[in-house]
Symmetry: C2
Subunit: 347 residues, 2 copies
C-alpha cells in the first residue's frame, strides 16, 4: 500500500470533494463482519471465546485478561494513554477499541497481524502485557481447567486443545462485537432526522477538508475495496512543522517502521476507525490528546496542514459523535472452575 498512498490521497481527496453532495464515501455498518472460511461462527465457539476473552488466567499472574485493555463494558478500549499489563507495566501504544475490529483489514496500530486470529496470540506472550512464557504454557494452563478441556473438544474436536483454536474462539467472539445503528447509520439508511443539522454540516466539512481521503469506507478507516489482511496505512505525522507534533510527541513512535526496519515505513500507521470515537479517549497511538475537539484540530493541521475554524471543529465533533453505535448486549460468561487448584496463582 505504502508506495501508492500519495496518489490515493490526492485522487480521493479531489473525488470526495466533488462527490460530496452526490454520494457519501462511507456506508452503514453491516450487521455482520467478514467471516474467514476456516473459522465459522457457532454459538459454542463464541461462548468459549467470550470466556477466554474475560479470563485473567490467560496472563502469567492471573490479573490481566483481554478485557483488561479492551473493555467491552466500557469503550472497547481502556481509556488510558498506554495500556497496563501485568505488574502495572505500561505498553508503548494506546489500546485500540475491540468494537468493530472485525472490520479492520489488519490488526494493531502497525498492522503486524493480518487477522483477529493472529492478533489474539500476540498479547498473551508479550512480557509487558499478559506475560506468558510461551503459547505452550498458555495451553498447558488452560488444559488444567476441565471445563475448557471439554469445550475445546466439543468446538474443535478431540485434539482441539491448541493455541490456534484458542485464537479462533477469541476471534469468533470478537466478530460479535459490532456496534450498529449509530445516528449516522440510521441517517444513511434513510432516516434523515437521525443526525442533527450540525452533525450534517460536520459530515460535509470532513469531506470538503479532506479527512475522508483516509477515513473512508464503512468503518471509516479504509476503502471498502481493500481486502482482509492487506491493510490501509497512512503517514503520521505528515506535516511536522507545527506546534502539535512537538507538544504531543508525535515523532517518537515510528509505527510500521519500527516493525519492518524499512525507513520507507517510518511513521506509517494503520488508519484508525472513527466509529465510537466519542467513547475512546484518549486519542492517537500514544494517547496524548484527551479531547475529541483537540484531536480534530491536531489531525487537520498535521495531516492536511489546515487550520480549522472553531465552528468547523465543533461541527466535525458533532458528526463524530453521530458515529457512536449501540454497544452489544451480552451476558457475563461463567469462567470454568479449576477444582484441583492447579492454576492457582501463588503471588
Amino acid at each position: 500500500m505504502r508506495n501508492w498512498i500519495w496518489l490515493l490521497i490526492f485522487s480521493q481527496s479531489l473525488l470526495a470533494a466533488q462527490k460530496a453532495k452526490l454520494e457519501l464515501p462511507w456506508g452503514a455498518l453491516p450487521k455482520n463482519p467478514p467471516i474467514p472460511k476456516d473459522n465459522p461462527m457457532t454459538p459454542e465457539k463464541i461462548y468459549l471465546g467470550r470466556q477466554l476473552y474475560m479470563d485473567p488466567r490467560l496472563s502469567k499472574d492471573g490479573t490481566v485478561s483481554c478485557n483488561s485493555c479492551h473493555n467491552v463494558m466500557a469503550s472497547g478500549g481502556d481509556n488510558r494513554a498506554f495500556s497496563a499489563g501485568i505488574k502495572g507495566q505500561l505498553g508503548g501504544r494506546s489500546a485500540p477499541t475491540v468494537w468493530n475490529s472485525a472490520f479492520h483489514t489488519v490488526q494493531f496500530w502497525d498492522g503486524r497481524a493480518a487477522s483477529l486470529e493472529d492478533q489474539a496470540k500476540g498479547p498473551l506472550t508479550n512480557p509487558i502485557e499478559m506475560g506468558m512464557a510461551s503459547h505452550d504454557i498458555v495451553m498447558e494452563r488452560i488444559s488444567k481447567i476441565p471445563g475448557y478441556v471439554s469445550q475445546f473438544k466439543k468446538v474443535f474436536g478431540e485434539k482441539g486443545m491448541r493455541i490456534d483454536n484458542l485464537a479462533k474462539a477469541i476471534a469468533a467472539y470478537e466478530r460479535t462485537l459490532i456496534t450498529p445503528n449509530s445516528a449516522f447509520d440510521r441517517y444513511v439508511r434513510g432516516d434523515k432526522k437521525a443526525m442533527s443539522a450540525q452533525a450534517i454540516r460536520g459530515m460535509n466539512t470532513v469531506m470538503e477538508v479532506g479527512c475522508v481521503s483516509c477515513h473512508t469506507g464503512k468503518n471509516f478507516n479504509a476503502p471498502d475495496e481493500i481486502t482482509m489482511g492487506e491493510g490501509f496505512y497512512q503517514k503520521f505525522p505528515t506535516f511536522t512543522d507545527n506546534e502539535y507534533v512537538k507538544k504531543y510527541n508525535f515523532l517518537e513512535d515510528k509505527g510500521r517502521g519500527s516493525l519492518t526496519k524499512d525507513p520507507n515505513d517510518d511513521y506509517f500507521f494503520r488508519v484508525p476507525t472513527w466509529r465510537n470515537i466519542a467513547l475512546t479517549a484518549p486519542y492517537f497511538s500514544n494517547g496524548s490528546v484527551k479531547t475529541l475537539d483537540e484531536a480534530v484540530r491536531v489531525m487537520a493541521k498535521i495531516q492536511l496542514n489546515k487550520d480549522l475554524t472553531v465552528n468547523q471543529v465543533s461541527d466535525i465533533v458533532e458528526f463524530l459523535k453521530a458515529l457512536t453505535g449501540e454497544r452489544p448486549k451480552q451476558p457475563m460468561p461463567e469462567l470454568p472452575p479449576d477444582p484441583a487448584g492447579e492454576t492457582t496463582i501463588d503471588g
Copy 2:
C-alpha cells in the same frame, strides 16, 4: 463473641453430634439476603452498583475494579493466594468470594466492616488495592462522568453524589449475588436424590467430627441467631503443635488482633462460608493451601486436633462440592463514557 466462644464450641459440638440424625444445623440458602432498612433495593440502584463494581476508574490508575479481586464471572474471588491491586501490589490476605457475602454478619477476614456498605469503601483508598487518595477524590472522579451524575441523582436524589451512596449502590448489587439451588439446598428442600451417598456420608461426618461447631447456619459460617453486624469469630489456628501450622505459615497473621491490638483477639478470624468452596481455591486467609482435600485435613487437625481417614476426607470433599450453587446470571453493564476525557489515565 470472643469470650464465650469456647463454651459455644463445646456445647455445639455435643449438640451437633447428638442431633446429627435428627436435624441439620444448616438450612437452604434463602432466595434473598437481609436488606438494611436504609438501603432498599431498586433496579436502578442495583444497575448503578453493577456498573460501579465493574468500573476500573474507581482505582487510581484505572486498572483495578471491585471485580478484579471479587470476580463474579469466576469464583466471586480471584483464585490467588494474595490479591493484586494497582501496579501488581500484593495484599496480605486472600480475597473472600463476594457470592452470598450478603449473608455474612460482618465483612473482611477480621470483621472490620459491619456491613457490605462499610466494606465497599475500604479497598478504594487502600494504597495497595485501588489506591485512591481519599473518598473525596473518588467522588470527584465519578462526578466527571455525566452518566454517573444523572444516575446518582435519579437513585439518590439531587445531592446524592456521595461516597456513602456509592457504597450503598455497590452493596445493593452485591445483595443480588446469591447462589441458590446447590445440591445440598435441593436435598434439604426434600429432593433426597440431589446429593450422592458419598456426599451424605460427608455431611454426617462433618457433624460427627465437629466442624459444624463453627460452620453452621444457612451460610455455614455462623449460627442463624447472630444479628447482622455482630460477627462470629473463631481462633485459628487452635492447635499449633502440628506440621501444618508451620508448613502453611499460620502463625504469621494475627487476624483480628492486628486490627484491635488486643492480644485476646490474636488469631481470631471471621468464620468463612463453605458455600461454593469447591470453586474458591486457594484456601485460608493466606491462600496457602491449593486443594480442598488438603484444606479439610488441615482444618480437622489444627482446629479439632483430629486426623481424618482418607475416606473421611473424600466424603467431606464430596459434601463440600454439593454446596456449589448456581451462579447468578447477569448482563454486562455499560460503563458510562466520559466524553470530555477528564478521567483519562495518563500512565
